[in-house]
């Protein structure tokens, strides 16, 4: 098998140039879909028969939780690719995914707490779903901390990639926690195999928000990865050229 294409994919420079074209389009669609989804969900979707208007936080809580889980797989796959193929870009993506994933997990936890107070009667309960979600948050923070803990970039990359891989165990646990154990958190509303237990008038804005969050995740990942590339590759010729610096004329670095 010819792996040439795969290795070209790993070039930070190639990634930077390709995404420059994609970015304006992605930004536009992300903002448009998020705007449509939130206005639809917050203003036009009907109130719930039991929870009234307080259920509307679902339009933030569920997409954030979705992406915090999906984002972990992005980070784990990037870590594995980096370990196996020693690909520079993969580690950059892993680092970026950790930051965005941590932010989304935090958002899911906070929105869940705000939702929990009026509906359950408590900000926080140590049930299996919420606790495993907190573990996910700490895993993301751990990956970031490990990246910063080492002087050598190679050691930092390798150790945090291994932590990432070990942490993948947590994802199916989070997902199935509400089915395996007695929890206060309700089981999944959106189901792949059977009909979702949410009325279509609320389902469609929710799905719009989920799509919007996927696009937002892609956008944030690309932006963060580009910034991280510039930081890591700041000594290379192509970055210098990008900044309009005359490479032949040695510039003094601050």
């Amino acid at each position: 098998m010819n792996w040439q294409w795969f290795h070209r994919l790993g070039s930070p420079r190639w990634f930077y140039q390709k995404t420059s074209v994609l970015l304006p389009w992605l930004t536009f669609f992300t903002l448009a879909i998020l705007l449509v989804g939130s206005v639809w969900g917050l203003a036009f979707a009907p109130a719930d028969f039991k929870q009234g208007n307080s259920y509307r936080i679902i339009f933030l809580h569920v997409p954030a939780a979705f992406l915090s889980l999906a984002g972990y797989y992005v980070m784990a796959i990037a870590g594995a690719v980096g370990l196996i193929w020693r690909m520079k870009l993969a580690f950059v993506v892993m680092r970026s995914a950790a930051v965005i994933g941590a932010a989304l997990t935090f958002l899911a936890l906070i929105s869940g707490a705000i939702w929990g107070k009026p509906t359950w009667g408590s900000w926080w309960v140590w049930d299996a779903r919420i606790t495993s979600m907190l573990v996910l948050f700490f895993l993301y923070l751990g990956v970031i901390a490990l990246q910063e803990a080492y002087q050598s970039e190679t050691t930092a990359n390798n150790t945090s990639a291994i932590l990432t891989l070990v942490g993948t165990v947590n994802i199916p646990i989070i997902y199935k926690s509400v089915d395996w154990w007695f929890t206060l958190h309700q089981p999944a509303t959106l189901k792949l195999t059977q009909a979702s237990t949410i009325h279509p008038s609320m389902l469609y804005p929710l799905l719009t928000m989920v799509v919007g969050f996927y696009l937002f995740y892609a956008l944030a990942l690309i932006l963060y990865t580009r910034a991280e590339i510039l930081k890591r590759e700041c000594r290379t010729k192509w970055v210098a050229e990008l900044c309009g610096v005359d490479v032949n004329n040695k510039i003094s670095r601050a």
Partner: protein, 165 residues
């Protein structure tokens, strides 16, 4: 694939599989402790320590909620379809607490196997619909229809719970 890379691929797979097995065994060993609450049948059968703080969860039996006229005392029964347990509580109940809905209470089980609760949480189910639709649905299916499935699926909503058993 380069042999060196193949070797690293197997290392990565080993790390993931090994970690999954280790954590899987740990969760299996702790499976009882991970549950947030005991079902009423465990309390009735005596599997629950007395006079220590525990949590119990189940559906609030319709018609069982009795409120005091002078203070915030409230008594109600919770059931998992197999057994019922009485709960005594003094305090403000959450908005979503109601008969025929699930609740999780934390408190101590006394010698009469009655829970003296210090906290009552409402557990809501995973279905969302507009009020008009909910009315139409409840008009269409009166009474319990899915009673057979109850007890097996502990997370199922209290709708269709067979309260007679």
């Amino acid at each position: 694939m380069h042999p060196k890379r193949k070797q690293r691929l197997f290392l990565v797979l080993f790390v993931v599989v090994f970690a999954s097995v280790a954590i899987g065994l740990m969760l299996f060993a702790l499976r009882e402790n991970i549950n947030l609450f005991y079902p009423p049948s465990k309390i009735v059968s005596g599997d629950v320590p007395l006079n220590t703080t525990i949590r119990a969860g189940g559906c609030v039996v319709p018609g069982s909620v009795q409120r005091s006229k002078t203070n915030l005392d409230v008594a109600f029964m919770i059931t998992d379809g197999n057994a019922e347990v009485e709960v005594l509580y003094n305090g403000i109940l959450p908005d979503l607490f109601s008969e025929g809905e699930a609740a999780v209470v934390s408190g101590k089980v006394n010698e009469r196997r009655v829970i003296e609760a210090t906290q009552v949480l409402a557990k809501h189910d995973e279905s969302y619909m507009p009020p008009e639709v909910a009315e139409a649905v409840s008009d269409a299916e009166p009474g319990a229809t899915e009673a057979d499935e109850q007890g097996k699926d502990h997370q199922a909503s209290c709708e269709g719970m067979n309260y007679e058993s």
